[in-house]
């Protein structure tokens, strides 16, 4: 992380002086600032080493102010009773896409701080995560942050927490992570309120594999929480689910600097390395036990993370395909939750079909590819997994509209539905409800708390991956928060809309949509392409079609005049250079009937797609 590993003399801490906790908060409610302040208070880093929000080590995380991967920090806090307590902080992602990562972080702790912005109140994602914490039997300590701001309304927010979350806020702490006010009291409170972890040092080893990632210096690092037994350097361990056996090379923890120790005891969190080449070999949620003295039963694991949103990623420059593949491989080392496989498109060239945990996850991966690996990418319209029930009785899962079977062979199609929770100030509620209705939503709940409303809708996921976030943000001027969970699959009147250029399908632009949205969306894409395809010698027909039926069309008229006025001595060289430049650009041309269309037109159609 910050520095290389340092050695630390082993001190065995009694279980009763350990507290493991997570922080649950909405984006911007001050979670990372609070974590930083705690590290500072406990002396984990010197003033010089403190960077703002040290936990969010990825550039993107720091920039967006959100946490993606879970991180842990071991704090040493001298409590009021004069004893030194070990406080293990698990920093967790706050976004809906990473619910899965949240749940495994929570499983490694006994309690949570619920941090709420005293000027804003509880948001949808916070709610979902609090419920996860409650499910994990966490002791929850409500903390009102940003109490120093003039707009803070601690009493109203306390009432809101009680009504919406349903927990007692009498003892809610009032702090300012920014100024440091109340931070010490929060640490003291953790010592007093959270249960100490339990575990038996003499029992067989049971350590929960919480997370894993690739460190350029140490190789694959595994984040663990020891339940029973002792995890020692040099020990031969077995992964209970995969059966893989490794010898532990290093054992340590973060302060957030890496500290190397000889062993991790019950109740402790830390990391191990074991000459593991691929992150995929470490299955998150697995139980690590000792090879020669194995535990009989594993700890309760987690459901594996499943991608729910799919899209194609193509390099804008076809020459960057190999770079893209290498970059995806590297990213995958650190984030096994996204999937990718090679895909070839007539309009866009070679690329990859990728699966993500959600739209933000998609955006983050795309942004990391572009930023860290300097790639220029294009993303096809996101798609969900449809279940196709064939007349033959077969059932198929469809991740890519390209693979849609002939409609005549289909009995029916099911699509995923979600339970969506939107929290929004009153004044924007009307617009939010209208948006949900437009997206085929069915209202299941509407609650008012103070000036805020909570609307719960059943929504088809494919309506949500189609610019729902952006619309929600814009109609609520950024004040609405949103969370969802997958509910079930339901049969729907879904159709595949193909986009044809000169009667030839451009598969990359095809999409699956509810029948009643097919025509307007088809028309939008036809019009957009019309504006993007340059006039050529021949007129170009652009059509949207369901099977053989044309539902929308647009025409790019033929070029009427296109001739250089002057062509003498020097002009000849200039004009030839232009032709040769066009020739180099020809790789980007895609043939459709008698016309060739620059790839850039399709890229632009996807880029601006809304």
């Amino acid at each position: 992380m910050i520095n290389g590993p340092s050695m630390n003399t082993d001190k065995k801490t009694d279980l009763c002086r350990i507290r493991n906790f997570a922080i649950i908060a909405h984006i911007d409610h001050g979670k990372s600032t609070l974590a930083d302040r705690m590290i500072q208070t406990c002396g984990g880093l010197t003033e010089r080493e403190m960077k703002q929000q040290v936990l969010d080590s990825m550039e993107i995380e720091r920039e967006r102010g959100i946490t993606i991967k879970a991180q842990t920090v071991r704090l040493e806090f001298k409590a009021a009773d004069g004893e030194i307590y070990i406080l293990n902080l698990m920093d967790t992602p706050g976004h809906v896409d990473f619910t899965y990562e949240v749940s495994r972080s929570l499983a490694a702790c006994e309690g949570s701080l619920l941090v709420v912005d005293a000027t804003q109140g509880v948001e949808a994602q916070t709610l979902a995560n609090v419920y996860l914490a409650i499910d994990n039997d966490h002791e929850i300590v409500p903390v009102l942050n940003k109490i120093d701001l003039p707009a803070a309304e601690p009493d109203r927010i306390k009432q809101q927490i009680e009504e919406v979350v349903g927990i007692d806020t009498d003892g809610a702490m009032q702090i300012s992570a920014k100024t440091g006010r109340g931070v010490n009291a929060v640490l003291q409170r953790l010592v007093e309120s959270l249960p100490a972890p339990t575990g038996n040092a003499n029992a067989e080893l049971k350590a929960l594999l919480v997370d894993s990632w690739y460190d350029p210096y140490l190789g694959v690092m595994i984040l663990v929480r020891v339940r029973d037994g002792i995890l020692r350097k040099g020990m031969k361990v077995r992964m209970m689910a995969t059966g893989a056996v490794y010898q532990i090379e290093r054992v340590g923890y973060f302060t957030p600097k890496k500290m190397i120790v000889e062993q991790l005891n019950p109740g402790e969190m830390g990391f191990v390395t074991a000459a593991i080449k691929n992150v995929a070999d470490t299955s998150v949620g697995d139980t690590i036990t000792e090879e020669k003295r194995p535990a009989r039963t594993p700890l309760a694991g987690f459901k594996p993370s499943v991608p729910v949103v799919f899209c194609g990623l193509f390099p804008t420059d076809t020459g960057q395909y190999d770079d893209l593949r290498d970059s995806l491989e590297k990213l995958h080392l650190n984030d096994a939750s996204f999937h990718y496989e090679a895909e070839s498109s007539a309009a866009l060239g070679l690329g990859f079909r990728c699966g993500f945990l959600g739209l933000l996850h998609l955006e983050i991966i795309q942004e990391r590819l572009e930023r860290e690996f300097d790639l220029d990418l294009i993303t096809t319209a996101p798609s969900v997994i449809y279940r196709i029930h064939m007349r033959s009785g077969d059932r198929r899962e469809l991740h890519n509209p390209v693979d849609m079977p002939d409609p005549t062979e289909i009995e029916y199609i099911e699509e995923p539905w979600i339970k969506a929770t939107v929290m929004v100030p009153d004044e924007f509620l009307g617009a939010v409800l209208q948006l949900c209705e437009e997206r085929r939503g069915k209202q299941t709940e509407l609650t008012y708390v103070g000036h805020r409303a909570m609307a719960v809708y059943r929504l088809p996921l494919n309506e949500v991956v189609f610019d729902f976030y952006d619309r929600l943000k814009s109609i609520s001027r950024g004040y609405a928060s949103f969370d969802y969970e997958l509910e079930d699959y339901t049969s729907s009147e879904l159709v595949k809309v193909s986009i044809l250029v000169n009667e030839e399908p451009v598969e990359a632009l095809s999409f699956i949509v509810h029948e009643k949205h097919a025509e307007p969306r088809g028309r939008i894409i036809c019009e957009k392409l019309k504006g993007l395809i340059p006039r050529q010698l021949f007129k170009i027909a652009i059509q949207a079609a369901i099977g053989g039926k044309i539902i929308a069309r647009a025409t790019v008229g033929a070029m009427r005049k296109d001739v250089t006025a002057k062509c003498y001595g020097g002009d000849i060289t200039r004009k030839k250079k232009l032709l040769e430049k066009q020739k180099r650009g020809k790789k980007r041309m895609r043939q459709f009937g008698n016309v060739e269309i620059p790839q850039t037109a399709f890229l632009a159609a996807l880029k601006t797609s809304d």
């Binding site: 010698l537 021949f538 009427r560 005049k561 250089t564 040769e580 066009q582 020739k583 060739e596």
Partner: protein, 394 residues
């Protein structure tokens, strides 16, 4: 080697810079005329050594404003050509002139030293348009210049521009009608093109709409054909026999020397065509010439395919078109290697090109969108092997 030769001189100076002009032209307060005369002759000598024994068919003084050249310099250059190659077979010596009164007064002297064709940069026949175009002359001066040229030279041409902002097709038609009434046998009619780097470009000046531009182009060609001065190239119109020999030589892929700052040339030596390019900047060109005798910035061997590309590009702009048999001999490549046959027949079927015997020409509907036709024919082809440009080292 007996390839005939055309010689181009570039005189890079003007009295003022026009807002539409992206040519290599400069406004200097003082010009060391003796140094420039020497330099031009010196560079001519340099190329003369490589082309001894050739026949010079045409000479062209372009610019800039070559009518601002001292007559003495023009005379010295013509004499130099006479001494190096001889002028017996030279059919055409053109000089570009601006119609300001001081230049018009030189016409007679120019004729006496050997200029036999004048190309006058009239650009417009009404004063508003001339002001807009930043021209230094009035419409009255333009008419006087044309009148004097008619009385001095057997052959002369003048340039007009159309497609100026807000120009209607009707006003262009009447301008053209007036032009026809005073023209001799040649008119160059250019649509205003806003080139990057010009004042017009900087101020985001726009010409007419695409539709109006197409209408004007078609109308121009029809009207000129009716008047007996059909287009023999995209923007050039002439009575039979009045075509510019010098320019036709460019378009037919003939050899030419380019002398002066920024001038381009094509010289074929032992079957290898060399593209030459002189130093663009006048100060640096002059310095270099005085040091080493010539100001060549670059000379590069053209591959047979590049040769063909140039010839197809320029040839299809002309009424006479391209002789494919000649092209095959010139490049040593078969026509099917030069142009993808399926693309060719595609363009012919669509009515953009016409093939009769060995001659390939662009039709009326083809010429108006010739850039797109060329793109279809030569560029937008991923598989075609003939499309690979071979870079030959020097």
């Amino acid at each position: 080697m007996t390839n005939p030769l055309a010689i181009y001189f570039h005189w890079p100076f003007c009295q003022s810079k026009c807002p539409y002009c992206d040519f290599n032209s400069h406004v200097w307060r003082e010009i060391d005329q003796r140094a420039w005369r020497r330099a031009l002759i010196s560079e001519l000598d340099f190329y003369a050594m490589q082309t001894q024994g050739r026949t010079v068919r045409s000479v062209y003084f372009g610019g800039g404003t070559p009518s601002l050249m001292p007559t003495k310099t023009v005379k010295a250059l013509i004499e130099a050509i006479h001494n190096r190659w001889g002028l017996a077979a030279c059919e055409e010596i053109t000089l570009e002139a601006n119609p300001s009164s001081s230049e018009t007064l030189k016409f007679k002297a120019l004729k006496e030293i050997g200029i036999n064709r004048l190309s006058i940069g009239v650009q417009a026949l009404n004063d508003d348009a001339l002001t807009f175009l930043g021209r230094a002359h009035s419409s009255k001066e333009a008419l006087e210049a044309i009148d004097r040229a008619a009385n001095t030279f057997d052959k002369f041409s003048f340039d007009l521009m159309y497609g100026l902002p807000n120009q209607s097709i009707g006003s262009w038609r009447s301008a053209l009608r007036r032009a026809l009434s005073i023209a001799n046998g040649h008119l160059s009619l250019y649509e205003l093109t806003i080139e990057p780097g010009t004042e017009f470009f900087k101020h985001n000046i726009k010409g007419v709409t695409d539709k109006e531009s197409a209408n004007m182009f078609e109308m121009t060609r029809a009207m000129m054909a009716d008047a007996g001065m059909p287009a023999y190239e995209v923007s050039n119109h002439a009575k039979p026999g009045h075509e510019s020999r010098h320019n036709l030589n460019y378009w037919r892929g003939g050899d030419y020397l380019g002398i002066g700052p920024g001038a381009h040339g094509r010289i074929t030596i032992s079957n290898q065509c060399i593209a030459t390019h002189q130093i663009h900047n006048p100060v640096r060109w002059l310095k270099k010439v005085s040091l080493i005798g010539h100001g060549t910035a670059k000379h590069r061997n053209l591959s047979p395919y590049e040769r063909a590309l140039e010839l197809i590009m320029t040839g299809l702009r002309t009424r006479e078109g391209i002789d494919m048999a000649y092209l095959e001999i010139l490049t040593g490549l078969t026509r099917n290697r030069l142009i993808n046959p399926s693309r060719l027949s595609h363009c012919i079927e669509a009515g953009f090109l016409k093939n009769s015997g060995n001659i390939l020409t662009a039709t009326e509907v083809g010429i108006i969108r010739l850039n797109s036709v060329l793109e279809t024919l030569l560029v937008a082809d991923t598989q075609y092997a003939g499309g690979a440009t071979v870079e030959t080292g020097q």
